[in-house]
Amino acid sequence: MPALNYVGISVPRKDAVEKVTGGAKFLEDLYIGPMLYARIKKSTVAHGRIKRIDTSKAEKHPGVKAVVTGREFPNKVGLYLIDRTFFAVGKVRYWGEPVAAVAAVSEKSAAEAVELIEVEYEELPAVFDPREALQKEAPLVHEHLETYERVPVFYPTPGTNISNHFKLRKGDTEKGFAEADLILEREYHVPQMQHVTIETHKAAALWSHDGKLTVWSTAQSPSIVRQLLAKSLDLPLGRVRVISNYIGGGFGGKAGATMEGLVIPLAQKCPGYVVRIVFTREEDVQGTFTRQALYARLKTGVRKDGRITALQYEMIWDGGAYTEYGVNIVRAAGYSSTGAYDIPNVKTDSYCVYTNNPVGGPVRGFGMCEMQWGIERQIDEIARELKMDPLQLRLINGMKEGSRTASGQAVAHVAFDQCLQTVAEAIQWGRKEGRYRGKGIAGLVKAPAQPSNAASSAIIRINEDGTVHVLMGATEMGQGMLTAISQIAAEALNIPVEKIEIRVPDTDFSPYEWQSVGSRTTYTCGKAVQMAARDVLEQIYRLASLELGKPAGEMKLDNDTVYWLKDKSKQVPLKKLADSYKKDTGEGVSGPIIGRGSYVPTKMSNLDPETGQGNPGLFYCFGATAAEVEVDPETGTVKILQLAASIDAGQAVNPQLCRVQVHGGTIMGLSTALYEEIQLDRGRVLNPNFTDYKIPTIANTPPISSFILETAEADGPYGLRGIGEQPMISVAPAIANAVADAVGIDPRTFPLTPERVYKAIKEKEAGTHSIPG
């Protein structure tokens, strides 16, 4: 590949100065116009029929401009399975579900008015454990599942709480188990967690007098929000405009359409006002997507030489009260269910199950952290049984060039073994350091989970002076989209990054972008930008050819000048061509230069409904984590001494930002391993703020060494692949494996709180080991 000038360089973030000066505008920092403040009335039962809602007192409260309930807005909304309404209609399905909302002239007035809304419920039997929800006699969370519209790759079972049953059958598991010398069967569990982005969810809506809707949202995906809202409200897309400003962290929690729907009905009642809602931290934790809990059962067959012959994987996911998005996590985990390993015979059943718990949804990793937890733990358990080095066992079974995933897709450009070995070396794998110290390793793989036709597009405008504007629909939530895309545009055009401008998206001006999720945007938007740049260059070279009288195919743009490849002295300034190029005689030749790029993956396909076989992955990104820990066996406290993370980025667009992302993902993984868990009491979150929902501080952060491998992805722009979610995936199992190594317990759930670890050590001493679920 030719040397790169702008890709692979650590230029400063495009948003850096704004972000360190307090100048970066997040949604709540905008003064958009005459404003009304919205507050929601939330259900106080987890499952109940709404017998009565009386809003009359609230309506009369001073300052109140509008009150709405679900009765007035029964329209459904959803990404994959359309099962959700803005406000509860008829019944509530989870604690904290919005049942009504108020818009008032001040936050205070809105908050007071909400208290005046009276709601009476008839409590219904509720279900909080997805395993119970699968039982015949379990209460139904959704009685009319068969009537829900859905994307046809999801398979709900009407009359049950199953909103999606994903099936995968590869090879012959019976034969595989027959070949095995050892069969291990275990259950694993992953609890609910929250993204707890430091910026909570926020939205604002303006219904103009001419019937246009503008929505400002902390959404990761303005195009999807626009599409889902327009459909739900039965509006033409052109009348809906969605703007995402800087976003204070996403991690999947702000994907899809989340809470925008709450302010729209209010805005419709108050034309001309901007109606804004800002979730409190407590509302955010209770009322926005959580990571779905997982109850997993893995049965693995392995030969004495370490080769895994068969895997049977059953996953029961706690989808919560609505699974419009969750059904796809269950699917993605299903079709990836061998993790980073090449297993010939696989049988997987992955169930998305409704319960009366908070709504499940996407979280960094999109099911991979949860699904690979069981895989990576079980490999260590097998290694111990076989008296084999867990690293060795991983190397034997790890995917290699040409290996096939669970869904039968061949993987290419794979350096998984190198990912594993790098981190192992970094922590001096194999050297025992002390009595209560231990080392652990885990691998990871992830592909973006997206529809096979999830598209990206880009427009490049060459300004009259030769500087550049890139228009994109991707969002900036910290991942560095603005910077990475600018670098790709700079590379594609051969114009310095400083001359490239790009803004956060506004669907009225930015071209379509499916979603900024799944570690896909740098790849897919990068493709679109490359295409747009090619389009621009063609136009520029055509004009240069007219100007210089040489063939267009022999032109080259370098920053502000186009020159003839054969004689550099024959050149023309870009700005001459870009400023509505005219002949010397004054006759106009060409208007402004605008390039377009429009990308859709062409090699992905739907999966066979019975076997789950097919090509669901745009690319597969591999990596690994190794951890060294020290356990205080008396208190159960786990201290992380060091962490090493590797990721095969294909090509790091900006090595510095890539590293920050790897560190950030590793810390989030550490956080889930040790601290994070939503504690629920009959569907109610008991720890809705940082007082008891703990995430690490800087003082909890051990030294992390990171290794960025660059095994180029042939189809990726400049060989890159996405790495946003990946660094988190293998952290919890690596830490748990290290804890297992240190004190001989077998964590089957996390977080590994001091109390949990202590109890497991006790149980092990008493002969009943393993961390209970």
Partner: protein
Amino acid sequence: MPSFAYRKCTNLAEAFKLLKEDDRAVPLAGGTDLTVGIRGGKFRVGALIDIKDIPELNILLADRDGITIGAAVSLNRIISFGPIRENVPILAEACHCIGTYSVRNRATLSGNICNASPAADAAPPLYCLEARVNIAGPRKKRTVSIEAFFTGPGQTVLQQGELVTSVLIPRPYPAGKGVYLKGSRTGSVDLATVGVAVQRRGNEVRIALGAVAPTPVRAGSVENAVNKNGETDWAAAARLVRDDISPITDLRGSREYRYHLAEVLVRRGLEQVMEG
């Protein structure tokens, strides 16, 4: 309409007058418990009487009687006060593990005890140091021992209209080492699952615990075993702490784990202060 009134006082008499005027008026020190409690609906107040600018309450001094810590003195000032670091480092250590640096910039010791959380980190060392709480009301002043001060979760001997003016760490200061051991979920900015203060005084030891009973408690049984019966098997002594505490299960830990952790931390505390 604001839900409460605010008044900054510059002398005690004014504060007493204002506290009397409205029976829903409460003193405001650092506000790190009060503002959180008001937001969460735990406190409903009519007025906040800001006592931080009252000169008497800003006293921090060491004299013949001991160390007087005025009610408006921030935890960070306490932590860096020489006489405290030299004579009663256990107090600095415990104050240091309260909240975050910025919280400690405003939070006060008096606020910590007046809020009377069973998990208040400053309380166990104050028990070990036999601190005295100086209280003043519109008419009279009184002094109570720190142990008499707490009456239940969120409850103290304070009457409406009374203020804590200062806390006294009396002389003689303990000759011997003291440690505050805090067990928590993250080990950084977290409330105590169990807090244990162990202070040696010559050949004797004083032990107090937080987060294991409705109020902070002295480990009388352990102290007895060590001080009276000459127990030097620290593990055996520590086991007795189970008789002194009555923990509950909550988000930060189960009752059983708290029993266990209390025992471990008491033993470690004994090892650290009684040996060497």
